[in-house]
Amino acid sequence: MKQSSIKTRFTYGFLRTLKRLPKTRAKSSSFSPEEISKRCRIIKLATDASMASAVGPRRAWSRALIRRVRSQRRQRQRQWLVMRRTRRGERKKGGKEVGGGGQTDSLRKLVPGGETMELCTLLGETAHYIKCLTTQVQVMRNIVDLFSN
């Protein structure tokens, strides 16, 4: 899948989310710290969600990211019920042999879904993940520049 089509899909998806952001009525309330931090949280979730849907389920890392976005959405919906800590680490499939040793441990934590990948898979997924992250940064920089003028 070409990076150019991922770039386009990410851009449209991300902009659509930005458009749906709650519009503030009075000018003064736009700058309240609660408003800004709430908007910031929505935007950060949108970067993950837009990238996950732009890439789709074709890569292991994007499937893991889709799961993460969905569980975060479900978490927020359930937050008013019970304060529950997600124990994602303990829900891992037990006993699977994963190669690579200590040096790959930090990489596994950085790549979505990396904890249970075989070493070969991890390296390939990392390469694609880096390409997509670079695209994401490019698009966000362009958007920020255009909004700043």
Binding site: I36, L123, M140
Partner: protein, 93 residues
């Protein structure tokens, strides 16, 4: 007897292929990281590539966070619709 021998040769062969595969993937990663791309002529150890990969991904994550912060502040004060139209137009060109 012969089946045992061929099995052991097979397992040795599989591990050799996997090592080459891993070396291949590591060098592909090296090409993606700006720090190490210029040094592709020298021998860069696999652990160095992995270390730099982790640093690079952390930097990219940090940049996404910074850009999200800036966006949330900008959206508080800009007319989004006209800016969005300009963005879409420029990206389509």
């Amino acid at each position: 007897m012969s089946s045992r021998r061929s099995r052991s040769r097979q397992s040795g062969g599989v591990s050799r292929i996997t090592e080459d595969q891993i070396g291949d993937l590591v060098s592909k990663l090296q090409q993606l990281i700006p720090e190490l791309r210029s040094r592709s002529s020298d021998k860069v150890s696999a652990s160095k590539v992995l270390q730099e990969t982790c640093n690079y991904i952390k930097n990219l994550h940090r940049e996404v966070d910074d850009l999200s912060d800036r966006l949330s502040e900008l959206l508080a004060s800009t007319d989004t619709n006209s800016a969005q139209a300009a963005i879409i137009r420029s990206l389509l060109m």
